[in-house]
Amino acid sequence: MTSNLAYDVQKIRADFPILSREVYGKPLVFLDSAASAQKPRQVISAMVDVMENDYANVHRGAHYLSQVATDHFESAREKVARFINATEDEVIFTRGGTESMNLVASCFGQAHLKGGDQVVTSVMEHHANIVPWQMLEGSKGIEVLFVPVDERGVLDMAAFEALLGPKVKLVSLAHVSNVLGTVNPVEDIIALAHSKGIPVMLDGCQGITHGSVDVKALDVDFYVFSGHKLYGPSGIGVLYGKKGLLNSMPPYQGGGDMIETVTLEGTTFKEAPHRFEAGTPAIVEAIGLGAAIDYVSEVGMDAIAAHETLLLEQAMAKLSAIEGMQLIGTAPNKVSVLSFNVEGIHPLDIATVLDRQGVAVRVGQHCAEPLIKAMGYEATVRASFGMYNTLEEVDKLVAGVEKAKKMFGA
């Protein structure tokens, strides 16, 4: 396998201070970016810089610093908008993907869902795209329908189409699975749903990090992601929504910054995005996300994706040579999120041995219990590769798994 010469992974690694640390006296091999990615110095300094020099509350003060802070904050929104090809008034800052989806469940739910309506999601989802809908089952009497997956971890599109009956008011599916790495055929999903007049939300928490996303080309109605998986800080996330749809929904929370006028008789609300951003937002984190977007854009999302695919292919080839290896998620269209088990060894034992070697992986159900069960497991080991991982690190993963096999004699 040839490496991609144009992609200078060592130069990228040098931007991420944490990657030079050791754990248990061994160099850190960080293969858990799907949970939360590490941050480049550019993000860290942008955040420090605003706190040291330009910090004040936004949208409020007539004073100089408030203006400067507001400019930074709103320019972060612009960066997000450009990154996904949206306009700024379609970009709402939230605390993360989870809050974005809860916002849609709550506000779209209030405006457009009533008892007996259906929402289609899938077995493949993160709990953040299941539980908010189940809560609406409880409170509103809606019904949640689940698209099944096959043994490779591919959505059953025939079943999806069959589920799209007249009571379905929203389709909410993962763009990319956080357990299997499966990239769902989102163009087909959206075209099918739209042909029946049903809007679509995509959970892009994993999709946004592994390739470029164009919400206009997709014609998606809502797109959701978190800053911390995109090499930005935690505490900030994004909800993209089509303008008309957003303004058809009531606010999420009430408070400052989201109202036009407040009188004792009542309140009129601003339009999106401010309608959905009550209170002081995560100013520094939004600016950090803007810096992260600058960073990945400079490297190029397609270049990042190509590098990650190289790592994935090498990992899948080498791991599958290990006896008893069960690769979980073998969809033809798959990104660098790799779940596996080794027959006869508990995933936690594997992960603990890896951890002792400095290799950080995730173990468990990855907030997707229905999926893990549907694939026939209790838990899996998950290695996920980011823009800064190397082929040598893939080899350390493989060596660690082999070591675990020896230690546990399977």
Binding site: Y24, H346, T352, R356, V363, G364, E378, M407
Partner: protein, 133 residues
């Protein structure tokens, strides 16, 4: 109070370096089956929640002394749960209530992986809850 086993574990672990501690726990996990955990006790009601592996602990009282046996589907966790249950079996309610997180800390497993130490503290609390002390 009879905490001989606990003391034995603490002494043994004290002499080892981190890598050897790790292997010691794995060996404990591999040999813990000398007293097999009754299969039909692997029921959900004996399951300890909030773990990345499944952990079952059952509790009995005999002559005013609390006894525990534990099981897990992960070898490392089985080593830890067996160490915990053996260490703190045979104690009276009062003695068991007096076991603190310091006892867990003194086993020096923190460097093994911090997650496991947190897990062991959870096991101790769970055992104390089962015994209602």
């Amino acid at each position: 109070m009879s905490m001989e086993l606990y003391q034995e574990y603490a002494d043994a672990l004290d002499m080892l370096d981190d890598d050897m501690r790790f292997e010691y726990i794995i060996d404990l996990g591999k040999t813990a089956n000398e007293v097999p955990f009754p299969e039909d006790f692997m029921r959900d009601e004996n399951l300890m929640h909030g773990c990345m592996s499944r952990v079952w602990i059952i509790h009995t009282v005999n002559d005013g002394k609390h006894n525990f046996i534990g099981e897990s589907d992960a070898v490392i966790v089985k080593g830890l749960v067996s160490m915990m249950t053996k260490s703190f079996s045979g104690l009276t309610s009062e003695e068991l209530a007096g076991i603190t997180l310091d006892h867990v800390r003194k086993l020096n497993l923190g460097a093994l992986t911090t997650q496991r130490q947190v897990g062991m503290m959870a096991m101790l609390k769970h055992m104390q809850k089962l015994a209602a002390v």
